[in-house]
């Protein structure tokens, strides 16, 4: 009896902890969304109340003064292409490292790992000089290459682990079946690590989508601006109109949150289940 009551108390405590954490996470996000519908006076006067009306005035300000659709397109192009290139090249490297024994393979994997620990931001000046020479300044392609390079180490790291866990007999079997190395990789092995690719994809897409540092330096014409960058300058302009700011924040967060919630089942399952068993 004693023990049972104790367990009940513990469970109760656990739920309190979990629920309050969820509130601490959700409430600020909720407030951000709600404040986007408020006027300055409402935000100052009755910060915790629901907005008087759910009008889109603040959103209209953003829509009319900034080129949000364009920023959205640019960010989407940059993120999608970066992730595609990243997954292709990352899989290639991870496949070579994990599925073949060759001289220097440890060196190669260390080479990719080293990239994980080197913050590229610190080499921004030479990077600029170099991209300039390559004609990639003020060009979305430049951003794509930077993001791909920056995210490659973690992608290779994640995918190598998953690829190593695949049984080598599958590969042997396909080899006996006459499949070429390319075919074994593309048809047999890679389809088996799609959960890992989802993880690596989301893991890297989020910072790419959110980054404002590299666009700030490398994108010069407003037409090429990304969402995070465009909004950062917009925030500077509207620094006293809190309602508009909150609306801007909500707008910037919306696409990623939507994608995440739609893919969350897959992503979290992949993250927590680890590898394919």
């Amino acid at each position: 009896m004693e023990k049972k009551r104790n367990a009940g108390f513990e469970t109760w405590l656990m739920h309190i902890f979990l629920v309050s954490t969820a509130i601490i996470v959700l409430y600020p996000i909720f407030m951000m969304v709600m404040s986007g519908f408020k006027t300055n006076a409402e935000i100052f006067g009755s910060p915790f109340a629901m907005p008087k009306s759910f009008n889109l005035d603040n959103y209209a300000v953003i829509w009319n003064t900034t080129d949000v659709p364009r920023y959205l397109i640019n960010s989407t192009i940059v993120t999608v292409i970066s992730v595609i290139v990243l997954l292709i090249t990352g899989t290639m490297a991870a496949y070579a490292i994990s599925r073949y024994k060759f001289r220097g393979s440890i060196m190669v994997s260390l080479f990719f790992l080293a990239g994980l620990m080197l913050p590229l931001r610190l080499a921004i000046i030479p990077l600029f000089v170099q991209l300039k020479a390559m004609g990639l300044v003020d060009n979305l392609m430049g951003l794509i290459m930077i993001y791909t390079a920056m995210s490659l180490p973690s992608t290779v790291f994640i995918l190598t682990g998953f690829l190593r866990s695949l049984p080598s007999e599958l590969e042997d079997s396909a080899r006996v079946d006459g499949a070429s190395e390319l075919r074994i990789m593309v048809q047999i092995m890679v389809p088996l690590i799609t959960p890992a690719m989802v993880i690596a994809g989301i893991y890297n897409a989020v910072p790419i989508w959110n980054d404002f540092f590299f666009p700030l330096i490398f994108i010069q014409t407003p037409e090429n601006r990304t969402l995070a960058q465009g909004l950062t300058s917009f925030f500077g302009e509207y620094s006293v109109n809190f309602g508009v700011l909150y609306a801007g924040l909500t707008l910037a967060a919306l696409p990623v949150v939507a994608v995440f919630i739609l893919q969350s089942k897959r992503f979290i399952a992949g993250m927590t289940a680890g590898a394919i068993k």
Binding site: I124, L140, M141, Q220, S233, G236
Partner: protein, 404 residues
């Protein structure tokens, strides 16, 4: 596939900005003034009307990152044709590196005074590298409606200022909107109050090396700043520039110490503002304002369209340009001859009869650490009471002595 996509992206971009003209020279023009995009659009349109063969694209970058964006681009052999530069130390940083085109001899600078040109002249070679665009002045704004409601008239002396502040505070109104979270706003604040205590001679003395910041005149002036802390918002340590403006705009605070560029914003927000220079030390003594050259327009030495860029720069040194700057941006133009119909600007211009250079920006931003960063840190500590005026003065002096 990658290639196709790139091409598609580039094509899409190209289409969207497809210029109607053919043999036009296209100039790029960078600035940190995001608030001024519309006004510059009009000014540029006027220029293009007279120079149909040139088109100018104004791009405003995020202000905080402007330095980074510009220096990286210049160092990478790129950058715009026309550069909106800041003055004094910031300008020296890029002009001494040879990234700017010397303008003397190429541009008629006769409408600018020697004082004004000082801000855009490289000390090492004496050449002018930018056409100064506007001067800024530190003033004390006050909300006339609040003053009237409280039966207060604008104070003249320091003691009156403190008395007025106390009266406002007793009435439940925050006397001063200023906070210290953004260091530069504290420095601005010091520009309104300190000159009247250290006097008009101090600038010359300290820049010539005749004295240091430990001079009693300066220490006294610093000490006065500490007396303002009780009249600043509760939690002023965390009040940043945006909050300051929001406090003043909303009428929660009665006074705001700021630069003359604020006029526009306050008027737009509907605040019934009055302006005054900082209070005098004693009745009858001088009421000085701190002023400085805000920046200028320069030509990128590596520009491929130098002639066209110079044409635009020549335009910025003319009275019509100054007139537009005055009318559209409510700036006090550096170039002479502009007439302002704006009473606010006329008032600020009148303050200039007793002006002193905004000390750290004009004279101590050439080396590191800058006088500004030393003073900003010092003032923050002074206001929160963690250091005395003497200690702050000693810190600033030592910092400047060690600067290189």
């Amino acid at each position: 596939m990658k290639n196709h996509l790139t091409k598609a992206v580039i094509a899409a971009t190209a289409l969207s900005i497809a210029a109607p003209a053919f043999a036009q020279t296209e100039l790029s023009f960078w600035s940190w003034r995001q608030e001024d995009v519309a006004a510059y659009g009009e000014i540029i349109a006027a220029f293009e009307a007279e120079n149909p063969e040139i088109s100018v694209t104004y791009t405003a970058h995020e202000a905080k990152a402007y330095n980074t964006i510009l220096t990286t681009a210049l160092a990478g052999g790129s950058g715009p044709d026309i550069i909106h530069t800041r003055a004094y130390g910031s300008l020296e940083n890029i002009s001494s590196a040879g990234y700017l085109e010397p303008l003397d001899g190429q541009v008629d600078l006769s409408l600018l005074s020697a004082d004004e040109l000082l801000g855009t002249t490289l000390r090492a070679d004496g050449h002018v590298y930018a056409v100064p665009f506007a001067s800024q002045t530190v003033v004390v704004y006050y909300n006339m409606d609040i003053f009237d409601a409280q039966g207060i008239t604008a104070p003249d002396t320091w003691d009156e200022f403190l008395a007025v502040s106390q009266q406002l505070k007793d009435a439940g109104i925050t006397p001063l909107a200023n906070g210290t979270a953004d260091g530069w706003t504290v420095e601005i604040m010091s520009g309104a109050f300190m000159p009247n205590f250290y006097g008009s001679e101090f600038f010359g003395d300290v820049t010539s090396g005749a004295t240091t910041f430990e001079d009693p005149r300066y220490v006294t002036a610093l000490g006065k700043m500490a007396e303002l802390a009780p009249f600043m918002p509760v939690g002023f340590e965390g009040v940043d520039y945006a909050t300051m403006k929001a406090l003043f705009n909303s009428g929660a605070a009665a006074m705001f110490v700021g630069g003359s560029w604020e006029i526009n914003g306050f008027r737009e927000a509907g605040v019934n503002i009055g302006m005054m220079p900082g209070p005098s030390a004693e009745a009858g003594s001088e009421r000085m304002v701190a002023t400085w050259m805000d920046g200028g327009y320069a030509v990128n030495a590596a520009s491929e369209n130098k002639e066209a860029a110079l044409a635009f720069i020549r335009f910025t040194a003319t009275t019509p340009f100054a007139q537009m700057l005055t009318d559209k941006l409510n700036n006090i133009a550096a170039v002479d001859g502009a007439m302002s119909s704006n009473p606010d600007l006329q008032q600020v211009a009148n303050f200039h009869s007793a002006a002193t250079p905004y000390i750290m920006l004009v004279a101590f931003r050439f080396d590191k650490p800058t006088g500004s960063s030393l003073l900003q840190d010092g003032l923050q500590q002074l206001m929160t009471g963690s250091k005395t005026a003497e200690e702050v003065a000693a810190d600033v002096t030592a910092g400047i002595a060690a600067a290189e």
